[in-house]
């Protein structure tokens, strides 16, 4: 489980716990997408707690977990990590790299609504993580965020330009 911020009260963020399905990690590994696993280990797990900007809702149609409106529920946490990671050779070890220039890092999360009974401690499930182009005027914010996401929830102070 990974610590991160919950924005139920947008004026008072709280630290909650986030999880990822073991099956998702296994499928990534079976497909050999081990650079994503290296990023999960090196960026997402230690970094979700330092996420800077928080959005809700994807601006596109999305069916997930029995809902035709799953796009409205998705949570998006963004920040600029100090490193990137990949894993070019499976028989070697993950490689630490500089951060990607002019990009920010995005984690997409599903709030834990339907599985509270079995996983009461999990606030949200981590679905996806990746680099996207950064807005040149708004540090650590994805380019064209208002066309990607439905609403901006919160920005934590203490970013790299403050």
């Amino acid at each position: 489980m990974i610590d991160g911020w919950a924005l139920d009260d947008q004026k008072k963020p709280e630290v909650k716990q986030f999880g990822i399905l073991q099956g998702d990690l296994i499928r990534l590994n079976e497909r050999g997408q081990i650079s994503m696993l290296a990023q999960f280990d090196g960026i997402v797990a230690p970094g979700l707690i330092i996420a800077r900007h928080f959005f809700r809702g994807l601006n596109r149609r999305l069916y997930d977990d029995g809902s035709m409106e799953a796009d409205e529920d998705k949570l998006i946490h963004t920040w600029r990590p100090t490193n990137d990671f990949d894993w070019p050779y499976p028989y070697s070890k993950p490689r630490k790299l500089p951060p990607v220039q002019n990009c920010t890092f995005v984690v997409i999360i599903s709030p834990n609504k339907r599985h509270k009974e079995n996983w009461p401690e999990i606030y949200g499930w981590i679905n996806r993580w990746n680099w996207v182009d950064e807005d040149p005027k708004l540090p650590e914010v994805p380019l064209n965020w208002s066309s990607r996401y439905k609403e901006k929830l919160y920005t934590r102070k203490g970013g790299r330009n403050e």
């Binding site: 999305l62 069916y63 799953a70 790299l97």
Partner: protein
């Protein structure tokens, strides 16, 4: 010292040998999209529109596209009442046909603007001078 930043991932790779990558296409049920990836590396996802995203490799000297996603797949199935199972798999063309009918504006925009420019593919009937 461990090769991993977190003990959880160190434990995961004690139990699972790192997989060998093969180019692949798969359905991502959490984000309701088909993903195609031809290389394992760090990449930036470039959103073209509500339907298409392409993946560009990071840390390379040249621009290199290593995959793409087509979004909203199951949504279209549900909205158009397409059965999830029938005799045999759906052809990709059938899925694209359903998405095109649902989102015609995103396809025409993509074909004219992105395929012609980014992939350097000539598009018949496309006015390049006007686009420039």
């Amino acid at each position: 010292m461990s090769d991993f930043e977190t003990s959880a991932m160190a434990q995961f790779f004690k139990e699972n040998f790192p997989g060998t990558f093969q180019p692949c296409a798969y359905y991502d049920k959490h984000l309701d999209c088909i993903r195609v990836q031809i290389k394992d590396c760090s990449f930036t996802e470039i959103r073209l529109n509500k339907i298409f995203t392409i993946y560009q490799a990071n840390h390379t000297d040249n621009v290199e596209y290593i995959g793409f996603s087509i979004k909203g797949i199951r949504y279209v199935f549900e909205k158009m009442n397409l059965p999830m199972k029938k005799d045999g798999p759906y052809l990709l063309a059938e899925i694209l046909d359903a998405i095109i009918k649902e989102n015609p504006e995103n396809f025409s925009d993509l074909i004219q603007r992105e395929f012609s420019n980014r992939l350097d593919l000539p598009v018949e009937g496309f006015d390049y001078q006007e686009a420039a």
